[in-house]
């Protein structure tokens, strides 16, 4: 059926080599009008590189690109846009200081005699929002929008251009259920209007909901191209990983937790920003406590208050029984805490430093002996790296590689290593597997459990209920700044967590 129509976009034998890494190795990609092609693959499989090449942000080392049968070569995003390609990028490429409407039309402003027509821009923006079923104010500054809304603006922006090919790079990452439904509906409508769509996503359920065909990338190569109707989730996962995924059994025992031991982290009536209820919690050595809640429930505020990033408005926090004044992360680390942030790119990794340096940055030097307590000793550092690389299963070519070139999962493992080396007794984790592929996810879960087993108290904040079910034996649920449920043992199930996250909200709204 598809073979009859002419491809809207055809990429042939695209190869892109970065120093030390072959990101893409002779891949093909063909997009047809009125057809949704899904692209899946682990982090680091080369999806983003292909999108950057199609979007004109990078040039391939070899291979050809043709649009509507004509060979093209792009030297800037502008070239690609002129050729009829519109990209919804994964990272927010919006200017926080400009308004929603200004961002949507950035680079292709509506002008009259060289002057921007604000009224027309506002109206066009409203029309687009209406078409997408969105409720956004075109005059709001983008910097003041929530992450989800910013993502919607990003999508609107891509649709504001004339295009024949639409590339969507993980458009759903920051959307909630209702918004996601609308997005998928929109994709179908665009397909029916004859647009050629490339849909990149980590979430396989979306792939099955919306695509006609699936292309699988692994390690920079195209390993499969299948009709969506004739494949299955396990098959795709296997293709992505190149192996069968080991099944993860939820933990059964609670043997790790020392119930009689003194709690490592205690919070009494901690008053956090945007959270109306004072927070009380206690975590014992070896325990993994879950913190659930929708985006905006106050979850990340609680975490950041505990780590001293946000000021507490009252209450006490004790680590190993000693009360600490929480006014900076440095003090929290000094007291034996460590936090991995939810935004790995901006608050976690130091992208211009090597894996080794990223690993060792928070290390407690005082505990070393002799020279290494004062200055870095290469031999000793390499020893530490070699030991941790094995333990954490970091896949990097060498310790000197820049961390920015690693995949999300490997970056996260390095950050875990940083936490281990900081000698922390209390570990605060925010969305520990966000942007991490399926394979690395399992390894990270095992890592968290291993850390807990060694006596660390872990607090996991996550928007993914299955993640909390896998990890935690006890789980607090926040809704709109209140603790609405405390689940324990067998009560920690996906259904209970989801219900507590939203059932309360249904009541509150009604």
């Amino acid at each position: 059926m598809i073979e009859n129509s002419h491809p809207a976009l055809q990429a042939k034998a695209i190869t892109r080599i970065y120093p030390g890494v072959t990101a893409l190795n002779g891949v093909d990609m063909t997009l047809y009008p009125g057809h949704v092609t899904a692209l899946v693959g682990e982090n680091g499989a080369g999806k983003s590189t292909l999108i950057r090449i199609i979007g004109g942000l990078e040039s391939p080392n070899s291979g050809s690109l043709s649009i509507g049968g004509e060979q093209v070569s792009f030297s800037s995003a502008h070239d690609s846009q002129t050729a009829g390609i519109s990209v919804v990028s994964q990272e927010f490429r919006l200017v926080p200081q400009l308004s929603v409407a200004e961002n949507i039309f950035l680079g292709h402003e509506i002008t009259v005699g060289g002057i921007i027509n604000r009224r027309q821009s506002r109206k066009r923006a409203r029309d687009l929002f209406e078409e997408l079923g969105l409720d956004l104010d075109p005059d709001r500054r983008v910097g003041s929008l929530t992450v989800g809304d910013q993502q919607l603006v990003e999508i609107t922006r891509a649709l504001s251009r004339e295009f024949t090919v639409l590339i969507m790079d993980e458009p759903s990452a920051a959307l909630n259920g209702a918004e996601l439904d609308r997005l998928l509906d929109l994709v179908r409508r665009l397909r029916d209007r004859g647009k050629a769509i490339l849909y990149v996503s980590h979430r396989l359920d979306e792939v099955f909901a919306v695509s006609d065909a699936v292309t699988v990338f692994r390690d920079g190569e195209r390993v499969a191209h299948l009709d969506t109707a004739h494949t299955s989730e396990p098959e795709l996962v296997e293709l992505m990983l190149g192996r069968v995924l080991e099944e993860r059994m939820p933990q059964t025992g609670i043997t790790n937790t020392h119930f009689d031991a003194m709690p490592l982290l205690e919070a009494d009536d901690l008053a956090c920003v945007h959270v109306s209820d004072p927070i009380n919690l206690a975590i014992r050595p070896g325990e993994i406590l879950g913190l659930a809640g929708l985006v905006g429930s106050g979850r990340s505020e609680v975490m950041r208050t505990l780590f001293g990033v946000l000021p507490a408005r009252g209450g006490r926090v004790r680590v190993e029984g000693k009360e600490i004044r929480l006014d900076s992360p440095a003090k929290a680390i000094g007291a034996g805490m460590f936090m991995l942030s939810e935004d790995r790119k901006s608050d976690g990794i130091l992208p211009h430093l090597s894996v080794l340096e990223n690993l060792l940055i928070s290390e407690k030097r005082r505990e070393g002996t002799g020279r290494q307590s004062w200055v870095p000793v290469p031999k000793y550092e390499e020893g530490t790296y070699a030991r941790l690389r094995g333990e954490l299963r970091i896949r990097a070519e060498s310790g000197l590689q820049l961390i920015g070139n690693l995949s999300g999962g490997n970056q996260q493992k390095v950050l875990f290593g940083r936490a281990v080396l900081s000698g922390c007794r209390v570990l605060l984790l925010n969305e520990p597997t966000r942007g991490v592929d399926v394979g690395a996810k399992v390894e990270i879960y095992q890592l968290i459990e291993k850390l807990a087993a060694s006596g660390v108290a872990v607090l996991v904040s996550s928007s993914e209920a299955p993640e909390l079910v896998t990890l935690a034996r006890r789980c607090l649920v926040l809704y709109a700044g209140r603790i609405t449920a405390e689940l324990e043992g067998n009560e920690v199930t996906e259904a209970n967590i989801v219900a507590a996250c939203v059932a309360q909200s249904a009541k509150a709204v009604a």
Partner: protein, 345 residues
Amino acid sequence: MIANQITASSADALLKSSRQTQAAREAKAARQGTLVERFGILLPCVVVAAFGVILVPNFLSASNIANILVNASLMAIIGFGMTLVIALRGFDLSVGSTMALTACVTAMMVGTAGLWLGMAAGIVVGAAVGLFNGLIIAYIKVPAFVATLGTMAIIRGVALLITGGGSILIGDPSFGAIALSRVFGIPSPVIIALVLLAVLYLVLERTPFGRHVCAVGGRPEAAIDSGIDVKQVTLKSFVIVGVCVGVAGVITASQLGFVDGTLGMGLELQIIAITVLGGTSLSGGSGNVVGTFIAAVLLATISSGLNLLNIPAFYQYLSVGFLLLFALSLDSLRVRSQRRALLWA
């Protein structure tokens, strides 16, 4: 399935309510932000004006006010260009030297090539220096601070070389008459400044180029992704600041009647001070040319007050320094107060 439906509808409702509280917070933050912004710039204005009126005889005389406005206009004209490059998250330290060079070139050319050609030459030289800065910054990717620090020294050297270290007397009295002329009783330098203010306001706020400047200054990656030619935008912005400096140089030459290569020493600090004091954040992404003009008037008022009180000129350095610190503290205070309002509201 049912659980999913509950999730979807109630999450939607929650999102809506959280959007509303967020909007309220943002509104409050914006109010507080603009309050600091306006209050900040008005406070020293009012204090200085009050002191001036009380302490200085003839402070409010027509000639003194005209004097203040002309001096303010000269600074503001350069300040408008500076506002543009700071919105671009750039910087221009070479404006003082460039003004000296353009004034000297104008003075030399007016004597030999005639009035109009001389003035045009001054502006062209300003644009050329801007082009040079822009090329180094946009294409060789030298940080603006360092690049213009270099050109600051180079251009000062050129200005001193072409004048041979001495001063140039402008013989043509019709050239001197330009700065002294009035239109409807308003000194023409003020008219020129107001026209440039209107033009640059329009350019910055209402043209694609102006929005691109803010986009490049606010988030360069977003600008690149939107198909904006960042190099072109950078280059054009620096040419514009060069033209502004050229215009100010020509007016200065006309006003003074004789010029030398040491003109405008330390001027860059004053210009940066009025730009930041006027509400243009050094972090880029937005520019406030109207604020720049108001701040220029403030600084000129202070200078005038100090002059009339016979306070040694050295104290004017102090006042500029303190104003610069005040403006920068205000800038970071503004960002913080906005952030705090977002937190606690």
